[in-house]
Amino acid sequence: MVTTINDPIQAAKFLYRSTFGPKNGDVEKLLDFDGGIDGWFEDQYARQNLHLSLARKVADDTGTPLNESARMSAWWQRSLVGGDQLRQRVAYALSQIFVVSNNGGPGGEGLASYYDVLVRNAFERFDVLLKAVTLHPAMGQFLTLAGSRAHDEQNNTYPDENYAREVMQLFSIGLWELKINGQPQLDGEKTKPAYTQQDVEELARVLTGWRKDKDSDGKDSNTKPMVNNADWHDDGAKSVLGVDFPAGQSAEQDLDQAIKVLYEHPNTPVFISRLLIQRLTISNPRRSYIERVARIFIDDGQGVRGNMKAVIKAILLDEDLIEGHAMADYQGFGFSTRNFGKVKEPVIAMTNLCRALNVKSNDPRRWWDFPGLQSNFGQAPLQAPSVFNFYEPDYAPKGEIANKELTAPEFNIHSMDSMRRISNKMWGLILSHRLTGVEQWTWDRSPLENRVDKPEEYMAWINERIFFGLMSDELHQYIEDLLIKMTEQNIGTDRRTFATLFAIQCSPDFRCQE
């Protein structure tokens, strides 16, 4: 962590990675922050806005049930206007690692409560986070750990292996034994599996005995951590990943030991670090970048393993981000500047635009899901099609990226259909400055109207307020020429502002992040 952020360009880039997009004044605030970048991080660590309480409030205030719509209302509000941007942004990234979905999970209340587990534990120790994730009833329902019980000879039933498998494959150690830099450990030319089917079966036995708690009305709780039922727990001796679990341990003791085994496994630091790097900063980190972060995961400098504050900071302040260095073609040594950056997640491109335009909800009581994320963006928070999230971490689209053995996971959801729908929703947002319907959003277009006859000022506003100084010369030139030409043709304010904003929102410049 040799880096500090001290110029406006680096500050803007940093804010695109660490928040849902800069808002007016954020760059200056960051540069002038008391205590510098460390001070900014400390301030962000201390802030925390939760989702469930807000979802409950908006549901009550608007007389609706606490459903997915109420949860999305809370998500938009927290993401677009919350002061704890780093925490919210990291929680969103975590929601794509520790995936729970409305598709097989509980409804809005349980999911909002699960999201709060990610929000609350975003800067906790990794084992604390993993245990909280494991015991949340939404996860218990989604990956069916709730109700899993010891082998029953009479009915010929067995423990549920679902969570046991995915907690290893996706939430901690991954499929293959890894080196500290993320490369697979090889046995000759063959990768070495990190666990066996036997480990899955044994871990499934370890994790038996949990069920949902009851709410005061006697119904299964979707918000309280799961509780154990000693009768269901298999308390025989087990062995997972070469570690013995002695006979006679309670469900809680067995769970704690399992979490410890996964937390201390040599794969976990690099497996989790790489996934977080891909979500927050760049798609193709160099091996050395991954290794630097993984080493902070192993030891934050104070002897603490899995200190997520330190891990997140190491990810966001790595020297490669300042230098603009990414993995070389064909995963070779050295570095590439061309390969630096990523395609923005569609949801993030939308939040970037909303925050730049300072979009507001027309309903003072809540935000309605005006963009209709799930049906239009190919993704929405806690609405993945399965535990495998919205895209494969190693997805490479046909052509140059695949040929050069690089990855661009977000391209996986940029289909013919979603590209068009995203475009339509971004366009809808641009037009929304004139909308007044209570479930609609709006923004104040007057700064652009005031400048539309003064191309230089207009462009300065665009570059500063929408691109935060990062607008390319080529795009700047194109938009300025477009504006001048339309002005010469006496075209009205609407068409001039619409054309320039349309050109910006769909530009590769705006939809990708460097």
Binding site: N103, T144, G147, S148, R149, N155, N156, T157, Y158, P159, D160, E161, N162, R165, L175, P193, Q197, S283, T337, R338, F340, G341, V343, S375, N376, P385, S386, V387, F388, Y395, P397, K398, G399, E400, I401, N412, I413, H414, S415, M416, D417, M419, R420, R421, N424, G428, E474, Y478, L482, M486, I491, R495, F498, A499, F502, A503, C506, P508, C512, E514
Partner: protein, 437 residues
């Protein structure tokens, strides 16, 4: 100058040269129907279908099944008798098979001899059952995503960047610039190939780009299409942007656009309905071959399986029966083969109220080209500890997924002599293909 996707598509008559790859021209016997058109339609059942509750013995062999999963067994009198039997073998008798009660609408399709069941099939890299030196088991057997990939790649082709339908199509001359690879269920490895972008749409097909009703906005969008960037992502984004736009435009010309854009059109029956509409347009699209992917999720029934699985199989059966009727109506039944794939079968032994990941399962194949009237493959011994029992009721397949895939590829027009290039596993088996087509 950078060649944009659009230019690439336009100049793709040059791709004729690719048909000279060893290989693979259409064999004569491959030509079907009036104009020789053929389409494969993969119906992927995501999550691992509990095939042993989809296809159940209706004769005395029911008892072994019931005993293996007493809490989950379907009542015998509810099963839909479809009048077919598994193949008898040295140790296994012919077993009369029925379908889950939710699938009654498929009975007539089976009775028309236009559908069949591939019994106890799954991922294999070589035979295991009955071998003195059995082949090793495939990698990562019970992991959803890797097993889905294996179905789409081939059991020994996981490292391959392309799917098997993609590799198949790369070797067959396709005379058109419009992609014949279509998914109505997200981007899929199965369709990845070296020539065409796959067309990923929803069941609503193409739609409108709002905001393009003024020339300056349309021009602004097109300006980005051919820009060149130093940055990898921006450069490729511009290409993706342009190819997606033109794909949508071509499709809109063919199918029209959906007025009600926000309606959810994701159900399997909607996907298959749109598939039938596209198949009907194949000549206008300039296609003599098409490959479709549709899917239905939710089959990972660890919990509350009885209700959930019933509802899923009902959707599957109704969607397939409707699709069958539509193909008949447009006179395309003989030109289309639809088939299921699923991550894996499920364990015979239950969890509390569900089932866990298993290995072998059964798949359905439907279409006018299907040699129906019987099932393919031998019914396994479901007794715990039998030679089919890998562990605790996870069954070992006897028919390899790649043998089924190869049969489909051959019907599609892939040259028979090269099937073991497409699926290297076939070298380990006596028969490359089965007789169901």
């Amino acid at each position: 100058m950078k060649m944009s996707r659009r230019h690439f598509l336009k100049s793709s008559t040059a791709l004729g040269a690719l048909s000279a790859v060893p290989g693979l021209s259409l064999s004569k016997q491959a030509v079907a129907g009036d104009d020789g058109f053929r389409a494969l339609v993969c119906i992927f059942l995501f999550g691992g279908n509990d095939a042993y509750n989809m296809v159940v013995p209706v004769d005395q062999h029911y008892l072994t099944y019931e005993k293996a999963r007493p809490t989950l067994a379907i009542a015998k009198h509810e099963l839909v008798d479809i009048g077919i039997q598994s193949e008898p073998g040295d140790t296994s008798p012919a077993v009369s098979l029925g379908l889950h009660p939710a699938m009654s609408r498929l009975e007539s399709v089976f009775r028309d001899n236009n559908a069949t069941v591939i019994v106890n099939s799954g991922q294999l890299v070589g035979p295991i059952i009955g071998e003195t030196n059995p082949h090793p088991v495939p990698d990562f057997l019970m992991a959803h995503n890797l097993q889905q990939t294996m179905w789409q790649s081939g059991a020994l082709n996981m490292e391959d960047k392309l799917g098997w339908a993609g590799r198949m199509v790369d070797s067959i001359y396709m005379s058109n610039d419009l992609s014949p690879m279509m998914s109505l269920n997200g981007e899929q490895k199965w369709l990845r190939n070296d020539i065409y972008e796959q067309m990923v749409m929803t069941a609503s097909g193409a739609g409108k780009y709002n905001g393009l009703d003024q020339d300056e906005r349309y021009e602004a969008m097109k300006f980005h299409f051919d820009r060149q960037f130093n940055n990898l992502f921006k450069d490729n984004y511009a290409d993706v942007m342009s190819s997606r736009f033109y794909q949508n435009q071509r499709l809109a010309e063919l199918l029209g656009t959906d007025e009600d854009d926000d309606t959810d059109r994701s159900s399997l029956s909607e996907q298959l309905h749109t598939t039938a509409k596209l198949i009907q347009k194949h000549a206008e699209m300039g296609h003599h071959r098409q490959v479709y992917f549709v899917g239905l999720g939710g089959f990972d029934t660890h919990h509350n399986q009885k209700n959930v699985h019933h509802a899923l199989l009902e959707q599957l059966s109704n969607a397939m029966a409707d699709f069958y009727q539509e193909l008949k109506d447009i006179n395309m039944l003989d030109n289309v083969t639809a088939f299921t794939m699923s991550d894996f079968g499920r364990r015979l032994m239950a969890n509390d109220t569900g089932t866990d990941h298993g290995w072998a399962g059964h798949q359905l194949v439907m279409g006018g080209a299907v040699n129906g009237g019987k099932a393919y493959g031998q019914w396994p011994d479901l007794t715990p500890g039998s030679e089919y029992d890998y562990n605790n009721g996870r069954l070992i397949p006897e028919i390899a997924a790649d043998q089924v895939n190869a049969t489909l590829a051959k019907w599609f027009g892939y040259e028979e002599a090269h099937l073991d290039t497409l699926f290297p596993t076939l070298k380990a088996f006596e028969d490359n293909t089965l007789d169901f087509l």
